[in-house]
Amino acid sequence: MTGSRPERGLRVRRRQDHVLAEFAAMGCPCEILVDTDDESAARELANVVAREAWRVEDKFSRYLPNSVVARINGSRGLPVLVDDETAGLLDFAACLYELSERRFDISCGALRRAWVFDGASRVPDQSLIDAILQTVGWQRLEWRRPSITLRPGMEIDLGGIGKEYAVDRAVALLAAQSSIACLVNFGGDLAVVGARRDTAGWQVGIEAPGSDGRRAHRLVHLGAGAMATSGDSRRYVEVDGRRLGHILDALTGWPVDSAPRSVTVAADTCTQAGSLATLAMLHGPNAENFLLDAGVKFWVVR
């Protein structure tokens, strides 16, 4: 979720068998594909989706001074009462923290500032990492719905779950409003809704590593449900010739060793898909086994 808020416009154009609407939100390109020839109907649905994406961004971006997250992060050790939606996200973050055995932690944003993932070999001092680990961690904050209390200097960041959540929200709004089939894609995390007119679903490409989105590694036919990807082949650091991806292990303060370059998971909801992909990443060399045992459809790029 980015600092400078880009122009909030919607670009709509007709494609061969659907209408495509594009906009920017949460620091990534977003799109909605609407299975109709009616451009104005598509624009109406795209507006619903874009407004929801922007609402989620406004509410949960830690960079926007009026957001709930900015308010929590600026609370200087005082309890903050949050609304139901925020509470839901915090509960979910707590669940992921437990399921990941403390490796996924929304309160370790400070670590992310210590690491610069630009492909170079810059590694922060271990003393810095240790110092940060002394001050952050979900176990050091107090969350009793609906009240959250951070220690001074602590910050939370819902970036790891907000985008997938926004996709699921958008899809739910679409389903309540129309039966037209749509695909909602926020920066590669996506979900579909409705049955398509002439085909069974949507074709989704999983990007080949290092191709900058130009080449599909695999094509997947998505008829229902969602897909999310964790990992980014362009964001890594080199350490002793080893390539460390940008997924940080909150227990060690280091990027996960031997993590796949990317993990894509298909699941009923985008939130589940994204969480499973992130948890798999944290399993490093055992990502595939984790996903096999979880019984989901996945694609791992190493």
Binding site: G88, L89, D91, F92, C95, L96, L99, S100, E101, R103, Y165, D168, R169, A172, A175, V193, D198, T199, A200, G201, Q203, R218, L219, V220, H221, L222, G223, A224, G225, A226, M227, A266, A267, D268, T269, T271, Q272, S275, L276, L279, L282, H283, N286, F290, D293, A294, G295, V296, K297, W299
Partner: protein, 437 residues
Amino acid sequence: MPRQDKTAIAASLASATCSLLGTPAATPVQAQEEPGWDLNTALLYYGENDDRVQDVSLNLQAIRNFVDDRLLTLGLAVDTLTGATPSGAIPFDGPQTFTRPSARSTYTTPPNTIPLDDSFLDTRVAVNASWQQPLGRLYSIGAGLSASNEYDYMHMGANLKLSRDFNKRNTTVSAGLAIAMDDLSPVGGAPIPLSQMLGEDDRSNKTGDQSKDVFDVVVGLTQVINRNLLVQANYSYSNSSGYLNDPYKILSVVDGTSGDPVPAAPVPGEDFPSHLYLYENRPDERTKHSAYGQAKYYLSGKVLDVSYRYMTDDWEIDSHTIDARLRWPMGDRSYLEPHLRYYTQTAADFYRISLVDGEPLPSYASADYRLGEFDAVTVGMKYGWKLASGHEMSVRLEYYMQDGDAPPGQVIGNQALQELYPDLDAIIAQFSYRFGW
């Protein structure tokens, strides 16, 4: 991370997501990876008893699935055929000498033995390509091309098929047509029908290349009866015209009383046929009608596949084929599949054991055992298994028994002492390997 129950993780996540979003997912995920190429390879051995035909063939088939059920299929088959095949001449208690089709040499068969022409050696290469795709929501269209080449035969074919779904895709009606244009360049030339087999180097009764055209139409119906039963029925019409003879098949001319082959006019040397043999002649048109029914029954992992075909043609051949297979799973990764097939046909109206010396020549005559009356039974077993890589392998072993009789009214004199119909046993062995790519 210590091992946890990961299925439990997925379940916890699902319930946590449900609390977060307020509702469970409307529809369970349906994500299907587009397979790249699906490759089927098979090595097949077919071997007849008594050193008759042996065939080894290698088949490669590549199927590419595209989105929206579009399908490209490419096939390549290479096979090598060797061995001997009955020439049509009858056995008797003396040796017989024949001129080879090439007319370059002769060969002699011993007494009381079905004469086999052993000059078969052939390599055939066949290719095909087809494309199938939906046409709108309910129609599907497919088109294909095929070609094959061997030393004395070239085939070119094209086909088109259209189908339409009804009744929520539980019913499919289809219609297809196919044309084939085949060219024959028989070794040594195509003999003039019913002309006499001549001596070495004498090609005066041989003509040039020949051709034949085949036109097929098929209409079919596939019906899903319920979750366990699928039935299919079709009718097909096939018309062949042009050169329908087997240029290498002959008939013995026999004495009307003894039934023995009539010796050729005495010619000095060994480079002439010992007896009188005429090249066969078939009508230059053949029209077949056939009706086919199939049922596939699925029950707790097992699949029973039974089919029946009735065919009748204007050569007066009627045939019945019953085929049954049962796929029996053995664990998750392997299966056994017994196979049983029964086939029976009546003889063509111009099928003859021999021609009688002095009687007027019929317009058409053939002693090709494949046009006679016979029954055939195939029994087989297939074992298939899946590797950890997802690749599939199978081995199939089958035994084929063909048993025919000479038409009783045609057996003359000493012929009753001979085996006039060449029975046939064959072994079929196949190894297949299938993988995605």
